[in-house]
């Protein structure tokens, strides 16, 4: 399937993936520390493993950004 991931078009061999599977394929080591938007809508972290991505979808993910002192 063809997806747009963080603005880049990618072709994946899988025809269906969950958000958590896609993050894994993108080498995201800490999925609990990323925010995800699927077609511009936030996906709740608790639903990463049950939210399915289909061809043509646009998925964006960003890592938590913070720090201190």
């Amino acid at each position: 399937m063809e997806l747009t991931i963080n603005g880049e078009v990618k072709v994946l061999v899988e025809s269906k993936l969950t958000v958590v599977q896609l993050l894994s394929s993108e080498n995201v080591k800490s999925p609990d520390m990323v925010s995800v938007q699927l077609n511009g809508e936030f996906v709740e972290r608790a639903k990463f493993s049950e939210t399915t991505i289909k061809s043509g979808d646009e998925l964006d993910f960003l890592y938590f950004m913070g720090g201190g002192r």
């Binding site: 520390m33 936030f42 964006d60 890592y63 938590f64 950004m65 913070g66 720090g67 201190g68 002192r69």
Partner: protein, 131 residues
């Protein structure tokens, strides 16, 4: 090596000074190997000791940076009263291995700006070249 336009470098320092005594933060955008765009972000912590990006603003800004043909390749924040080095918390929370982390310190009479790559809790200093 991080190549950066002087106006972006200066804007970053001005942002840190204007926000003092609070920490300020933001993204820098890179195009053709040169950091040439600054996007100031809200520090949702509004704190002298911490900063946190708001995820909704993060997506909005990163998408705008992309639309402008840049890549959000640098995250900067200020240390109003501590040196320009990643704190333990900065290192622990540096989850994104694909960006440079800049710290603008106002602890001395003259601002100190340093860039770091942080991956798997390991910190590497990165030289900044003003172009």
């Amino acid at each position: 090596m991080l190549k950066m336009k002087k106006d972006v470098y200066d804007d970053m320092i001005t942002h840190a000074k204007d926000g003092f005594p609070l920490e300020v933060c933001g993204y820098l955008g890179e195009k053709d190997g040169i950091v040439s765009l600054i996007c100031k972000m809200q520090n949702t912590d509004e704190s002298n000791e911490h900063f946190t990006f708001d995820p909704a603003e993060q997506f909005e800004v990163v998408k705008k940076i992309r639309k402008d043909g840049h890549r959000a390749s640098v995250v900067y924040h200020s240390h109003p009263e501590t040196p320009s080095r990643p704190s333990e918390e900065d290192i622990r929370l540096a989850y994104d291995p694909n960006v440079s982390y800049i710290i603008v310190s106002l602890a001395e009479s003259k601002p100190v700006v340093k860039s770091f790559r942080i991956k798997n809790l390991s910190v590497t200093l990165e030289e900044i070249e003003i172009v």
